[in-house]
């Protein structure tokens, strides 16, 4: 039986990909950010998951407005990291786990989530930067698990509600747990925290709200479902809506979790960067 070990969260800023490429780990600007990762890597080293479900949001590489899905699940043999317009070096493809993808898609549709299934899907920084942070050298890290990308829409309003995002995660938990083979799974929630790239309010960051979200998501994620989508834009910034990915991740971890690690740093690029490791209790 498949078992969910825990959830990992991280921001997924493009500038981080560049900093990794240039090896700026001890640079004074970057050090407080990169220092958030070694404890999580030690935990991964100890538990060696077989599968990483990476819940991210595509930023206009995998999907365009012509066919914009609310929830998309990858079902490919591999996922290619393609040029997304600004010349970050592209990584080799990430190996998929399509037979697990299909099990999950079957279960999610059965549970009345209206999935877009993706048998081919180029992945952008939102997907690859977290992989590089948790598995240095990814995808060429010897411990690199197979992966399934799940993307939620934050490009085009209406975006899903925080409640729907959490419920998605809960359904995903049932889907994973019903997979008949032994499989150790981690679920990544990537993106956020507060940031806004566009408009006269560009550069908006909200430390207080970020810290509230990082606190509540551990033991009381239901409280966060009371936040409306417009309130989320207001308090987290226009792109802070990426917090939806954290909600989806959290739903997959079950009622009780233990916070094993947490780091928060402002700013990385235009963003409040949050990193967490939440371990499942059952």
């Amino acid at each position: 039986m498949a078992k969910i070990l825990g959830g990992l969260t991280t921001s997924h800023i493009p500038a981080v990909g560049n900093a990794i490429h240039n090896g700026l780990f001890d640079d004074p600007y970057w050090k407080p950010f990169f220092d958030g990762y070694p404890p999580i890597r030690a935990w991964l080293d100890e538990h060696k998951p077989d599968l990483a479900i990476n819940i991210y949001n595509d930023h206009g590489l995998g999907f365009f407005l012509d066919r914009m899905p609310t929830f998309a699940i990858g079902a490919a043999h591999e996922y290619r990291n393609e040029d997304e317009g600004w010349g970050i070096p592209q990584l080799p493809p990430f190996p998929g786990a399509p037979e697990v993808s299909w099990h999950i898609i079957e279960s999610m549709v059965e549970q009345e989530f209206d999935i877009t299934s993706c048998q081919e899907l180029p992945v952008d920084h939102g997907f690859v930067v977290p992989m590089q942070l948790f598995w240095p050298g990814a995808p060429n890290n010897p411990d690199m698990p197979r992966t399934i990308p799940i993307s939620a829409n934050t490009v085009q309003h209406p975006i899903p509600t925080l409640k729907r995002a959490l419920d998605f995660g809960k359904a995903l938990r049932r889907a994973i747990q019903s997979y008949p083979e032994d499989l150790k799974v981690v679920v990544l929630g990537t993106g956020g925290l507060s940031h806004q790239l566009d408009g006269e309010r560009a550069g908006f960051i909200n430390k207080e709200f970020d810290q509230y979200c990082m606190e509540k998501i551990v033991d009381d994620p239901e409280a966060l479902t009371k936040i409306s989508r417009m309130e989320l834009v207001e308090k987290a910034g226009a792109q802070g809506t990426e917090f939806l990915m954290w909600m989806m991740m959290r739903g997959a971890l079950g009622d009780k979790v233990v916070r094993r690690h947490s780091n928060y740093h402002i700013p990385i690029s235009n963003t409040g960067a949050g990193t967490m490791l939440l371990e499942c209790v059952e």
């Binding site: 407005l65 012509d66 040029d83 317009g85 417009m230």
Partner: protein, 119 residues
């Protein structure tokens, strides 16, 4: 079922909600910017921006905003920041360059504003 939220997007200062209304307005501009995922498209745009904009059917407001590299004007013309970021990439402008431009600051001032958010 109580439909409460969906038809009154609360106005947030300095923030454009990219909803259906904006999407209808900006489709041609966003489609052009989406094409900039490809290096060949970027080169083609740089070689002849007017021809490239014409090919995607941009209106005059959108064309002028692109000529001016004016991000606020591109947003007003229906541009979505996720696609506009690819336009900015052509000119090697990062999110702090365009943040500074939109807020009328120098890049250093903008970075200082971001740093202060951590205090």
């Amino acid at each position: 079922m109580d439909i409460t939220e969906f038809d009154h997007h609360s106005p947030i200062p300095g923030t454009t909600i990219f909803d259906g209304k904006m999407a209808m307005k900006g489709y041609a501009l966003n489609k052009m910017c989406y094409s900039f995922n490809g290096a060949a498209a970027r080169a083609q745009y740089l070689a002849d921006p007017e021809a490239y904009m014409e090919k995607f059917g941009l209106n005059d407001e959108q064309k002028q905003a692109c000529r001016d590299k004016d991000v606020l004007a591109m947003i007003a013309a229906g541009g979505n920041i996720y696609y506009l970021a690819k336009f900015a990439g052509i000119y090697r402008l990062d999110v702090q360059d365009i943040g500074a431009q939109q807020t009328g600051m120098t890049k250093e001032e903008f970075k200082e504003k971001l740093r202060k958010a951590g205090d």
